[in-house]
């Protein structure tokens, strides 16, 4: 099972959680069984439109099963849902990837069933 956590840097389990999804700096991909962690840079951050959609696509391509992040907008959520990726939000002040992973394993994270924010508009 593959779990993805949005991260501000790519230094390992101590990396800080990035609460943005579409514009997160990195995605930490954790293979729960193998306990392995790899990072990929989020190419979507440079998109002027549809960053959340592109990020959802990236996760779908990596065959992620679940995502832990801070906020997910409506477009990204629709994509993640379609790709069958479960979305969890950190809400108890988790700071690092390790915190998130621990909380996830302990069943403390909330699975969200809809977008957590209304998103924002790009250039009109």
């Amino acid at each position: 099972m593959k779990l993805v956590i949005t991260a501000k840097d790519d230094i390992g389990f101590e990396s800080e959680l990035d609460t943005r999804f579409g514009r997160a700096a990195y995605f930490g991909i954790i293979d729960i069984e193998g306990k392995e962690l790899i990072f990929i840079k989020n190419e979507a951050t440079s998109s002027s439109s549809g960053a959340g959609i592109k990020a959802a696509q990236l996760l779908a391509d990596k065959k992620a099963d679940a995502l832990i992040t801070g906020r997910v907008g409506p477009k990204a959520f629709r994509g993640l849902e379609k790709a069958g990726i479960k979305v969890y939000t950190s809400s108890n002040g988790e700071v690092s990837i390790q915190d998130c992973l621990t909380a996830y394993k302990a069943g403390e994270l909330k699975e969200v069933d809809g977008p957590t924010n209304q998103g924002h508009h790009g250039l009109k």
Partner: protein, 275 residues
């Protein structure tokens, strides 16, 4: 003659100037292209009756039975309006810019298009002699350009055209300015006003339009900040509308100030005569 009234940001009194200017002149065709928040109707009080036209754009729909998941369309769309999730292509119509490219490149002919409403256009051909047009964007739609281009098709060359542009200096403002003969930049005498004015100046310079400035909420002690800048750059100041309680009060009541203070009609007329 086509004149666009613009400002680098909202809240400078752009619509106040545009509407009062329109009411001071004859044979005017007025366009409110601030389609995200058209508000000139508050002052010009059109009666649209049934005069309404929907503006459409085309967005792709995928015939999943023909699609072989080759992903070419997803990689092509630079706006990220398409995603390949599971084996299906998901379309995000609100992000799509209707470029038509994906339909073109699909090797399976799996993409057709459907209409989606971007907004609407309303009009009143005779408000005491003034012809009025207004565009309005559907909430959630990303781009106002299709509405502004559409409404501009109604421009009549024999009229004196006044376009109330969307605030800002991005594509919609450019679209509202690009076909005009002259640009009036509305500003106010504050550091913010100057900052936004500079951005508006850059826009009209890029478009190579002749332009001048109207200072709204003008106050002798404060005007220096705009005057110095204009003088240094050789930009004409066309008019100053003073910061007066009476004008502010009329504004809050939705009454164009030229209606109550007719000498301002002459001042606006003079501005246009001297362009």
């Amino acid at each position: 003659m086509k004149i666009t009234v613009l400002s680098g940001k909202g809240g400078t009194g752009k619509t106040t100037i545009a509407t009062n200017l329109a009411l001071s002149l004859e044979n005017v065709q007025f366009f409110d292209t601030d389609v995200e928040e058209p508000n000139s109707y508050l002052f010009l009080k059109p009666d649209f009756a049934d005069n309404e036209q929907t503006v459409w754009r085309k967005v792709p729909i995928i015939e999943q039975s023909k699609c072989n998941s080759c992903r070419k369309c997803v990689d092509f769309c630079q706006y990220n309006a398409l995603a390949m999730l599971g084996d299906e292509v998901l379309v995000y119509p609100e992000v799509c810019h209707s470029c038509g490219g994906c339909k073109h490149i699909c090797p399976q002919d799996a993409i057709t298009e459907e209409k989606r409403s971007v907004g609407k256009i309303n009009w009143d051909l005779d408000i005491d002699g003034l012809e009025y047009w207004q565009g309005e964007l559907t909430i959630g739609e990303a781009s106002s350009i299709p509405i502004i281009s559409k409404i501009k098709k109604e421009i009549k060359d024999e009229k004196l055209v006044i376009i109330d542009a969307p605030p800002g200096t991005t594509c919609p403002t450019i679209e509202a300015t690009i076909d005009s003969d002259y640009a009036i930049l509305v500003t106010e005498p504050t550091p913010f006003g100057l900052h936004d004015l500079k951005m508006a100046v850059e826009l009209v310079e890029d478009l190579d339009k002749p332009y001048g400035v109207i200072i709204n909420r003008s106050q002798q002690e404060a005007d220096g900040i705009i005057q110095d800048y204009c003088k240094k750059n050789g930009i004409p100041i066309l008019l100053k509308v003073p910061f007066k309680r009476q004008i502010a009060k009329l504004y809050s009541e939705g009454i164009p100030f030229v209606e109550e203070l007719p000498k301002w009609k002459d001042k606006f007329r003079e501005v246009i005569d001297n362009l």
